[in-house]
Symmetry: C2
Subunit: 455 residues, 2 copies
């Protein structure tokens, strides 16, 4: 891990360095320049090559470069490459990766391939990885890095600096902080590199952290919660402890960025009933399989709102122009509801807001729905009156629109809260349920008012 | 800035330290514990107090704590507090903040208040802030921090370490990297603290960075692009340069986390026609004002699709049950389209994918639309046949649904790409335009096929 490069500066840790690596000559496409590129760019480049060339490139580049590139590859690409590399070469690359990245990749492999690779690692690495693979990948332990710098309380600042330099030379990833532990490895304090570099040489780290209240998470904390805490505190890393407070590892900001991106995608995709992890790289048949159930739910839901229309079939038969205006009511209330929905889902994603503030937010949506409803109702009333020449149709249109928009705003605001209270994902398919409500109510209000006042 | 706390360790930089600060006794609510809390938590706590207590708390706590808390407050709260503090106290707090945070807060103030505060700062601080305030807040320069550690090429590693310690002691925020510059301050290399701590003492930093290709952004780069690059490379900070390559500042990961959150909200809110920056804290009348234009667009769009229904008024008058089934076609295709839309918008947010890959993704959505369309069409056909007892109605339903779902998938996939090509935000109101297409086409296909085959 700690091989020297060019004899001047040691090889930097994989994640945070703007230094480049080279792709081996024999595997490059014609026309590629032989220049140093960053592992992330190399991974992008590899993803555009054939599997054969990917495997060739990884086999021929220095193991440490291959490890960095593999960590940056899309999960499915990394799996293909690993399955097609000689197991010995693959195991060497895995051994070179940071344990959290290695565990992520191994987690994607089928069990047979995974065991083959794990058996080829040395005992310590393989036990470590098997340990990490046991944790829920969505928990703090599932994303944590186990390479961290620990300081005993009795260390002086000078001893601490010497210790950190030794640990850095062993290529512990990202030593943003050093964690101070007691004799039982219970976490008692956190020091930044800056704290330590500027400390009075003789001071003991135990004294330095006395009185600190350390922010940490337990290993089973949901990774989204970890991301939220790290964003909240602007930390570079969050220590992970077991239930007795022993330090187990650390979740770093780069993993958090990935989690935040994932979460944002999950919310938007979930809202409309797509799989939270779907991307344009998902095989299309898998997307079909995952979207179908929600499309089926949507069809049944829309059958439900259609049954409202069916109740008023006679009304429509008498005055077909109602079928022209009816979808406008539903559509407009649906849009209002989606605006409320989007605001609430994002709020839940970025803030851990309490019950009271949550329902104040629903009230706020209600006020917005009422105000926009009044204005749009006037516009729609005038339009419908002008279009049909029938003032009652205008009134029915306006009244139905106002009520349905208010309902849409309240429903959009409260659906995510209700889902959350039921222990469900606040976003999942919320748009589908919202539309059922706004469609059903819109049809009922419009046709109901029409049959009351028009005939 | 560099005041010592408790004589042991210097005060940590605002952003990344898990140390606590205390809220002054006289401003606390009854029942609050007097304990050290993190500035981010203090800010949360302050946000729940009355303006009077907020002002009182900030006035009585140490200036450096107030500066940290102010940087963490919601923009609108920070403005209220600043406007109600004595200008002298407010200016002291501003002076203590890191320049990027200070500029963010000042940017929210009205010009008059801002000038009063700037005039109270010492000349250097005020010029620096006026300089920062000139930049577009959505550009790299608008979010960059100007306190950074520069190393001359001629420094030895030992000189570099001594220089960095001096700079740290002056409380330059977050020295994750030191930037190596030539005589004209042109950026020529980047070294991590780790690189420097482990370097051979006599080596010159100029040699150490020889051959590096440094990743940097120009000052006018969109902050979303900076976020995307920083996520891509997993850097802790991205240097910002002017057009001649002179270093101007650095955008750090904590700002990036905020940008990523903002961007995710902007996409989701924009998609349904809400203001990208809206949250539950936005005054409701402002939300009304900002949502109304898109609701109006939505109403006009739905009038457009309603006009399709109007073309077939006669058909509906002959067979009112068509009005029952018609919204189901539109609704289902709309949901299909939104799934495609969400996948594409998130892809554009997290990946800078090229034209070819983009259209392959649309093709993928087309295949998914065709496959799910066939299955849902069969279900809908059977349902409609069973419901009406008329096999032709079933066939019309199935045929219209299949075509509209395919269209919805293709439209959902391509709308964000078309918007992007037109230089628009790919997300903005995309859902509204999508629904117009799927509604209009759904009504036309269903009623058109019905009038062809049923009468």
């Amino acid at each position: 891990m700690a091989e020297e490069r060019a004899g001047i500066f040691p090889h930097p840790p994989a994640d945070t360095e703007p230094h480049g690596i080279t792709m081996p000559e024999i595997c490059r496409e014609a026309g590629d320049e032989a220049e140093f590129i960053h592992p992330a760019d190399l991974a992008d480049h590899l993803e555009n090559l054939s599997l054969e060339k990917q495997v060739c490139a990884l086999r021929h580049m220095p193991t440490e470069d291959a490890a960095e590139a593999l960590a940056e590859l899309e999960g499915s690409v990394a799996v293909d490459v690993l399955e097609n590399l000689d197991a010995d070469v693959a195991a060497q690359i895995i051994a070179e990766m940071s344990p959290d990245d290695a565990a992520d990749v191994l987690d994607e492999l089928d069990e047979e391939h995974r065991d083959v690779l794990l058996d080829k690692l040395d005992k310590e690495d393989s036990e470590e990885l098997r340990h990490l693979l046991n944790f829920d990948p969505d928990s703090a332990a599932g994303v944590m890095n186990t390479e961290l710098v620990l300081l005993e309380r009795s260390f002086t600042a000078d001893e601490a600096i010497a210790h950190i330099r030794r640990e850095m030379a062993e290529d512990k990833e990202s030593p943003y902080y050093a964690y101070v532990v007691d004799e039982q490895d219970v976490l008692v304090g956190v020091l930044s590199l800056r704290d330590i570099m500027l400390a009075r040489p003789g001071i003991r780290v135990g004294e330095a952290v006395a009185g600190q209240s350390v922010v940490s998470v337990t290993y089973d904390t949901d990774k989204r919660e970890v991301a939220s805490l790290l964003s909240h505190y602007n930390f570079l890393a969050m220590p992970v402890v077991d239930l007795e407070g022993h330090i187990m590892g650390v979740v770093t900001y780069d993993d958090i960025l990935d989690i935040v991106h994932e979460e944002a995608s999950a919310d938007m995709l979930g809202m409309v009933g797509a799989d939270p992890e779907e991307s344009v790289d998902t095989p299309w048949l898998e997307s079909v399989r995952k979207r179908l159930p929600w499309l089926m739910v949507n069809l049944l839901n829309s059958a439900l709102s259609a049954s409202v229309v069916y109740m008023f079939e006679g009304t429509i038969a008498q005055m077909a122009v109602l079928a022209v205006l009816m979808p406008m009511v539903a559509n407009q209330a649906g849009n209002t509801g989606q605006q409320a929905l989007a605001v609430m889902i994002r709020q839940l994603a970025t803030d851990r807001f309490d019950q009271k503030k949550a329902w104040m937010a629903v009230l706020r949506e209600g006020k917005i729905g009422l105000a926009t409803g009044c204005i749009m109702a006037l516009a729609a009333c005038a339009g419908a009156w002008g279009f049909t020449g029938n003032v009652t149709v205008g009134g029915v249109m306006g009244g139905a629109l106002l009520c349905d928009m208010l309902l849409g705003a309240l429903a959009g605001g409260s659906i995510p809260l209700i889902f959350r209270a039921l222990g469900r994902d606040p976003a999942q398919a919320s748009s589908i349920f919202l539309t059922t409500i706004t469609d059903g109510a819109g049809f009922f209000l419009f046709l109901g008012l029409a049959s009351l006042f028009l005939f």
